[in-house]
């Protein structure tokens, strides 16, 4: 694959990851942070979540189209292939991944329809939010079918698809949930009335994040075997260097989460101002690291472990 295609494909996949992570995490938030927020908190939280949903709800369909178009162009004779009816027909109807792409496009259309049609009732503990959450989750999970796992032997593929699904859903719940948490902490920083609710939300988020990280690790463990088979320590490919970078970044994310949970959250009871300020800063750092981790994941999705 030529470099321009590689760059566009990586960017499109990154935008797709980011948009689905934020959508999934934000839509899931009302289902585990169930208490009623006090008025000032509620408004800020709802406004932050709706803004995020509007933005990533637009990025998701655009990025999936960019991913699809670039993928098709890289398989054919460049961008002109997109105007070749026989090529397009063969891509969607003859290639093994074609029908999965059609499914992903259908899921995208449905998600867009739900986000636009029920925007006033999102996000809350209601049916439209649950439907949008399931659609975003399905879009995350089906990425496995158009990526590296699809190239595995049939006997390994199903297991790795499962691991991939657990991994992405766990990561999206965790990373995407940082956005509403940040809005809450930002409110709590300036408004003492929001401290109790922020503490409650942090507790719920910590429980959810523990489960999410367990899923991330379980999925990773399942996906480990086919990767290890490609490892050549004496001649590491750019893919393996990217994996190493991601390991370091993920380690930093976990270290910050550890400090938030076991040091700063208990501090809320005795020194709320200091705790909230530090938690807010850490959540923002976590978000920045997550953006970089997803960029590295997007690169790994288009690169080959063997170089």
């Amino acid at each position: 694959m030529s470099d321009p295609f590689l760059a566009i494909l990586t960017t499109a996949r990154w935008a797709q990851f980011l948009s689905l992570f934020v959508l999934f995490g934000v839509l899931l938030f009302p289902f585990y942070v169930t208490g009623a927020a006090p008025a000032p908190c509620r408004e800020r939280l709802a406004s932050a979540m709706r803004r995020a949903i509007s933005f990533v709800g637009a990025v998701q369909p655009l990025s999936i189209l960019a991913w699809l178009a670039t993928s098709m162009a890289s398989m054919g004779d460049g961008w002109t292939s997109l105007r070749d009816a026989d090529f397009v027909k063969a891509f969607f109807l003859e290639a093994g991944f074609g029908r999965l792409w059609l499914t992903r496009l259908l899921l995208t259309a449905l998600l867009l329809g739900v986000l636009v049609g029920t925007r006033r009732s999102l996000p809350a503990r209601n049916l439209p939010t649950a439907v949008a959450l399931v659609l975003a989750g399905a879009l995350l999970v089906t990425q496995a079918g158009v990526g590296h796992p699809a190239g595995l032997r049939p006997d390994e593929r199903l297991l790795v698809f499962g691991g991939y699904a657990l991994h992405l859903l766990g990561a999206a719940a965790w990373i995407g949930g940082l956005l509403p948490l940040r809005a809450l902490l930002a409110q709590a920083k300036h408004d003492d009335r929001a401290h109790d609710y922020a503490q409650f939300a942090l507790g719920r988020f910590a429980t959810m994040a523990s489960v999410a990280v367990a899923l991330v690790l379980l999925g990773a463990a399942i996906n480990m075997r086919p990767q290890i088979a490609t490892l050549n320590v004496s001649d590491l490919s750019s893919w393996w260097w990217a994996a190493g970078s991601k390991a370091v970044l993920f380690g930093a994310l976990i270290a910050i989460a550890y400090r938030n949970r076991f040091v700063l959250t208990p501090l809320l009871a005795t020194q709320p101002k200091k705790a909230v300020t530090n938690l807010l800063r850490n959540v923002m750092i976590d978000q920045g690291l997550a953006v970089v981790v997803l960029a590295v994941a997007a690169f790994m999705g288009v690169a080959s472990p063997t170089g």
């Binding site: 991939y164 990773a220 086919p226």
Partner: protein, 124 residues
């Protein structure tokens, strides 16, 4: 005790942290007939290339180019069900003596496209 448990948990978590994207290697050429840079005495009636993983025949292609330009094939490149990693193209006629370039495009089941070319010569 609790602090020790927390540290162990943290170390366990970090030890897994590289495994985010499951991977297979992209398809690459493993062997071919005629072989790259070979001289064959018998004019081939087909060209096949074996890749490192199963390919999508509808998205893959083999083109043979001689000094006169592309050589006609009887149809699109296809995959034998018994060997899903091998792409085959039947030639309309046996190749006359001369130098040829084989240009291939292979799309793996993982949607990744790879391209390449190699030369061979027919010298009866």
């Amino acid at each position: 005790m609790q602090e020790k448990l927390r540290r162990r948990t943290l170390v366990s978590v970090l030890s897994f942290c590289a495994m985010v994207e499951s991977a297979s290697a992209h398809a690459h050429l493993q062997s071919a007939n005629p072989a790259p840079d070979s001289i064959v005495a018998t004019a081939p009636q087909e060209v096949w290339i074996a890749f490192s993983e199963a390919v999508e025949p509808s998205m893959s292609a083999i083109e043979i180019v001689g000094v006169q330009g592309p050589v006609a094939a009887t149809g699109k490149a296809y995959v034998d069900q018994a060997a899903p990693a091998a792409l085959i193209v039947k030639l309309a006629q046996p190749l006359p003596a001369g130098a040829y370039e084989t240009r291939w495009r292979c799309v793996g089941k993982d949607s990744h496209a790879m391209r390449g070319s190699y030369h061979f010569e027919v010298r009866p």
